[in-house]
Symmetry: C2
DNA sequence: CTGTTAGCGCGTTCAG
DNA sequence: CTGAACGCGCTAACAG
C-alpha cells in the first residue's frame, strides 16, 4: 500500500537510517546520497508516517479541541484562531463536538486523550456540570486550556477568558448612563459564562439599587439551531412588560432573537427598546438595525489559547489570561425615552 | 508519565497479552483475572494508546476534513453533519483550513496523509487550481470524498454534490416565471461551484435568448470575512443599471451583501429588485427582509459524505451522489414590476 | 558520512 | 485460559 521508509531505503540502496536523516535533515548526508534518496522518495511518493514517528519520539503534534457545537458562529471564529496559530507550529487539530452535553464533553476529552493528543483546548467547558473530579484528575497528565471557563480553580490548567464582568458592566454603564433603569437580562442554560454574566449584572444593578430579580430570564439552550427562535418566542410574553426599556443578552444569537420578537410585537428598536448582544459575531453586522454588542475578539481568544497550550506543552508553565473586550455601539441602542 | 499496557500488566501480575485481551474483549479471560486487570487499569488511569494500536493494526480511525475556511457558516454546518456521522462510528475528525488557497489545500491533504488518516473529505475543493495530477495520483492510495466538486473525473473519488444546475434553474425559473428578464448573476473567484452555477445560468438564459454577458459579475473571494462588504461595495456601481430587476447570487453571503447595497442605494427589495441567495445558512432567516434562497441541506451534505467515506474505506466502493435542493421563497422575491 | 540495532505501545500469532 | 515473541514505521544511539 503506502510506501514505508524501508521501501525508500531499498530503492535508493541505502539504510533506513539514511533515509530518516535526509527526511529530517538533522544529520550530515553526502550530497549524492541525498539525491538518490530524494529521487526514491519522489518515485514512491513516500510520505512519512507521523504516527510511527511520534510513537517513537513519545510526543504528538496533534491537539484536541472540544466545542459545544458549531452552530453559533462564535465557535467557528474561535476555532479559526486556534487553527491559524497551530498551523504555523505544524500542529494539527482534532475537533470534537460535545453537543452542549456535559457527558459528551467528558467523552470527547477521553477520546482525544486516547488519540494521544499532546493537549486539549475546551471552549466554554461545562465545568459546573462535569463531574468535579474529572478535570482535576486530568490536569497533571494532560496539558489543557479552557476558553471562557469561570468555575474551576485548577492550578495546572491555563485559562483564556473574556473579561465577562467588564463586558457586562460596560454595557450596563452605557445603558444606565443613557437613562435606562429596567434592563432585562437574557441568558441561557448550561454554561458557566452565563452565570458569570448574570453575577456581574446582579452586582451592578444592586450597587445602584435597580435590581429586579424578575428581570432575569433564561431562554434554554443558548447555542443551538433553535436559540434565535426560542428567544423570540420567549420574548413575546416577557416584553409585554412595557416598563422594560432595554435588554442585555448573553450572546448575539439571543440578541437577534430579541430583535425578531420586537419586529413581531411592533416595538421600535432603539426608540422604544435598546438591545445589546454579546460576542460580536458577524451576524450582528448584517441585520437591520445593526446590533450593538460586546466584542470578544474571538479570533484572538482562539489564537491566544493555542499559544498558551503550546507553552504549557513545551515548558509546563501555565497562565490565566483575562482578555479585554469592547462595547461596539451600533444601531440598537439609544437614550431612554421614558422616565 | 502516562501508564502503558506494561504498567498495567505488571501491576495486575499478568502479561501484556492478557491486558490487551480484557481491554478489547476479543478473547476469553478468566473472570478473576479480568477483575484484577480492570482494577489495575482503574488504579493507573490507563488509557490505551490508539496511535500504537493503529500503527500495529495498520489502520486508522481518524479522518481528515479540508475546508476553505470557517467564516461562511456553510462550512460549519457541513462539518457538523460530518462530525455527527463520524462520531457514531467512533471515528475522529482532523480539521484543516486551506484559507481559500489551492497551495494550502494540497498542503493540508499531504499533512493529513502523513498523519495517517484513513480518508479525507474535501469541501469545495479547488480542483481547477490544484495541480491536476495531484488528486489523480492520490485517489488510489487514499480514500477521498469531495463535497461540491464539479471538475474532476476521478473514478476512485466519491462525490457528494449539490445539484447546482437544478438549484440555479429553479431560481431562474421562478424569476423568469414572474416576469424578470434582466437577472444579474453574482459569483466569486476560485471555486468550481461558481463556475458550474455560472454555466447553468448561461445555459438557461441562452435557451430563452435573454443572456447579457455583462450581467455576470464576480465579487472576488466568496467565503471570506470581507465577502459581504465587498459584494455590497461592488454592487453600488453595478446596480446603477436600473434595467436589472433581479439578482441571483452564488451564496448567501453575497446575497446579504446585495441587500446591504440596496439599503444604501434606496432600492426597495423586493418591490424594485428581487434577490435570491444560495445555501440557506441561518443568516438568511435572521435578516430583514428574509432572504429567498436555495437550500442545500448542508448537514445532510456532510453526513452523506462521511457515510460514503466510511464505505469507501471499508469496502473500496465509491459513489457519485447528486443531492436535490430546494428553492425557499421568503421575502426578497416578487413579481417583476417593470416591462 | 553511513549501516545496524533497539525500542516506542500495542495486537496477534503460536505454544503451552 | 495465559505468556513469550514478533512486527507495525520510525528515530536515536552506537559502531564503523
Amino acid at each position: 500500500m503506502r510506501a514505508t521508509i524501508h521501501d525508500v531505503a531499498q530503492k535508493a540502496g541505502v539504510s533506513v537510517a539514511t533515509v530518516s536523516r535526509v527526511v529530517n535533515g538533522n544529520y550530515p548526508v553526502r550530497e549524492e546520497t541525498r539525491q538518490r534518496v530524494n529521487a526514491a522518495i519522489k518515485a514512491l511518493q513516500y510520505v512519512p508516517n507521523m504516527q510511527a514517528r511520534e510513537l517513537n519520539m513519545r510526543c504528538s503534534s496533534s491537539i484536541g479541541v472540544v466545542v459545544p457545537g458549531l452552530y453559533n458562529m462564535f465557535f467557528a471564529e474561535v476555532i479559526d484562531g486556534i487553527e491559524d496559530y497551530l498551523h504555523r507550529g505544524s500542529y494539527s487539530l482534532l475537533l470534537c463536538c460535545a453537543k452542549n452535553d456535559p457527558r459528551q464533553e467528558m467523552q470527547c476529552v477521553t477520546d482525544l486523550m486516547s488519540r494521544n493528543v499532546s493537549g486539549i483546548i475546551v471552549i466554554s467547558p461545562n465545568t459546573e456540570q462535569v463531574a468535579p473530579a474529572f478535570y482535576e484528575q486530568l490536569q497533571q497528565r494532560l496539558a489543557m486550556v479552557f476558553i471562557n471557563s469561570y468555575t474551576a480553580q485548577l492550578p495546572d490548567v491555563s485559562l483564556v477568558n473574556d473579561d465577562a464582568r467588564s463586558g457586562v458592566r460596560q454595557a450596563l454603564a452605557w445603558l444606565t448612563g443613557h437613562g435606562h433603569r429596567r434592563i432585562l437580562f437574557v441568558r441561557g442554560d448550561h454554561s458557566d459564562s452565563y452565570r458569570v454574566k448574570e453575577q456581574a449584572y446582579v452586582e451592578f444593578m444592586t450597587e445602584n439599587g435597580w435590581l429586579h430579580r424578575e428581570d432575569i430570564v433564561s431562554v434554554g439552550e443558548g447555542n443551538g439551531t433553535m436559540t434565535v427562535d426560542h428567544t423570540a418566542r420567549r420574548m413575546q410574553s416577557v416584553l409585554s412588560d412595557r416598563s422594560l426599556t432595554a435588554v442585555l443578552c448573553c450572546n448575539d444569537l439571543m440578541g437577534v432573537g430579541v430583535l425578531a420578537a420586537c419586529r413581531k410585537l411592533g416595538i421600535q428598536v432603539p426608540q422604544e427598546l435598546s438591545v445589546i448582544g454579546y460576542d460580536n459575531i458577524s451576524l450582528g453586522n448584517f441585520i437591520t438595525p445593526q446590533l450593538t454588542t460586546v466584542d470578544q475578539h474571538m479570533f484572538r481568544l482562539g489564537s491566544r489559547a493555542a499559544e498558551l497550550l503550546i507553552e504549557r506543552i513545551t515548558t509546563g508553565v501555565c497562565h490565566q489570561l483575562l482578555l479585554d473586550n469592547q462595547l461596539v455601539l451600533r444601531e440598537t441602542t439609544a437614550d431612554c425615552r421614558r422616565s
